[in-house]
Symmetry: C2
Subunit: 251 residues, 2 copies
DNA sequence: CGGTTACTTGATCGAGCTCAATTAGTGTGG
DNA sequence: CCACACTAATTGAGCTCGATCAAGTAACCG
């Protein structure tokens, strides 16, 4: 927490995949020291970005994959009529910009939700590196396949689940992802607004708000604005048991 | 139709990507003659498969990508409570099995809807071929990226669109895909049941049925069981985009 | 044929949306 | 420091779309 107010430390900027605590859940997963070094050499690291700043917008020439080092991103697209559709959120160790791979432009937008450090990996360099590093190639395929699986999991959520199940599933997903990152599974801050949550889950924001109130009354959790404290993870799980296996498997 | 009863013709089995009319909308897109030959060498072609047969099921060891040569596939997953969730349909030139790439097993199932010829491309051979053929690598990435984009388009459909808009969008998608394949954009047979359509679109089958009836009354199309004749493509299109009223009104 | 499955049509009900009002944060400027 | 504006979130009331339940019809198949 005091980190926030410290002046910029050059050592922190000079970070590499090799000493990044997230490397195991990020693109470098399963790569050895030498491979990591080569990946490192193509990663561009910027200064922290501020809420509201965009990594890219739909139609922008697609040139790079992005990894979240700290902070959070929101991925969304704009429908023909100007409505926003939230597609997902990227937490540390997760990627954005996959939909531009192999094409000319991004189909979605990616915007910073809270102050974030981002690693940028240019497609062309990534691709040529894949030729040399089969494990990177496999890892990249795996990342894309998991993204497809995750999107399909969302299809199930939106197609089959009630509002209650959707919100429970969403909170469990966040909980699991924070725990994986060594953070608390039961106490965290939501990086996104109610608007974003509702949009993502296909619900009106009033419904989201009411559900939070209802969950609180049922002693499942405590929520104050963006602060969430989960009191009964098991019961939340039992609300979405049919989706739990996939989420837990992580694959 | 008489084809069904003819003995197996060796020439029909010996088909290759090089003389496949679908190659432009399939994995080979953008590859030259020599590259095609090398891709051909790793493609396994089976005898036609019958409705109900599975290419793979969730949890099966993932070993290959599949391309539809003729016929149609349904992709779905099963939730723990035994519910089926339809994830999509593959028409000729389209792929199945992408969610197993880079992992150990498929997350979804793929089942044949109507008698189909399938091309099988083993992952390991595909991957080693990617090292030699950058254009295949790029194409594979592109295919995966498009799949992600398509899934995200479905998220929008399920999250934001009314039943009417969903069915219109579904029919338009089929229409476009058939036209791209050199078939009629206005007259085709649905390869899937009402059950499948409803499941896919997040609607009850009764709703799907009623909408078909309603569309017919509005002279948008004629439908008889699985035969569809689209009468007013433009108006169907305007239904998908005509959410402008809602957007203008508020939000 | 009779039985089975796929689809259609009708009637009713409720989950979640919309509209509207209120409350709680969050600056911003005097 | 407070008044004011502005946005985010909550809460309430009523309504609508689409689900569910139920019955009927049409194709298919031994």
């Amino acid at each position: 927490m005091s980190k926030k107010n410290r002046p910029l430390n050059i050592e922190e900027l000079k970070t590499s995949c090799q000493n990044c605590s997230l490397s195991d859940m990020c693109l470098p997963h399963g790569m050895d020291r030498e491979e990591l070094e080569r990946l490192d050499s193509i990663v561009v690291r910027h200064r922290p970005m501020q809420p509201g700043q965009h990594l890219f917008r739909p139609g922008d020439a697609s040139h790079a994959l992005f990894a979240v080092r700290s902070g959070a991103l929101k991925s969304y697209c704009i429908t023909e009529d100007g409505e926003e559709q939230v597609l997902g959120f990227a937490l540390p160790g997760e990627l954005a910009g996959m939909d531009g791979l192999g094409g000319n432009s991004y189909a979605s937008a990616s915007v910073v939700l809270e102050t974030s450090s981002i690693c940028e990996m240019p497609y062309d360099r990534l691709q040529s590196l894949c030729v040399d590093l089969p494990s990177l190639h496999r890892q990249l395929m795996g990342v894309l396949a998991r993204e497809i699986t995750a999107d399909q999991h969302m299809l199930m959520l939106l197609g089959k689940r009630s509002a209650e199940e959707r919100l429970a599933s969403f909170l469990l997903s966040l909980s699991t992802r924070y725990r994986t990152r060594g953070l608390s599974a039961t106490e965290f801050n939501l990086p996104m607004s109610r608007q974003d949550i509702g949009n993502y889950l296909g619900l009106a924001i009033e419904t989201v708000s009411r559900l939070f109130a209802q969950f609180q009354e049922r002693k499942l959790l405590k929520v104050n604005r963006r602060q969430v404290l989960i009191l009964d993870l098991d019961q939340l799980r039992s609300m979405v048991e049919s989706c739990a296996s996939r989420a837990a498997a992580g694959r």
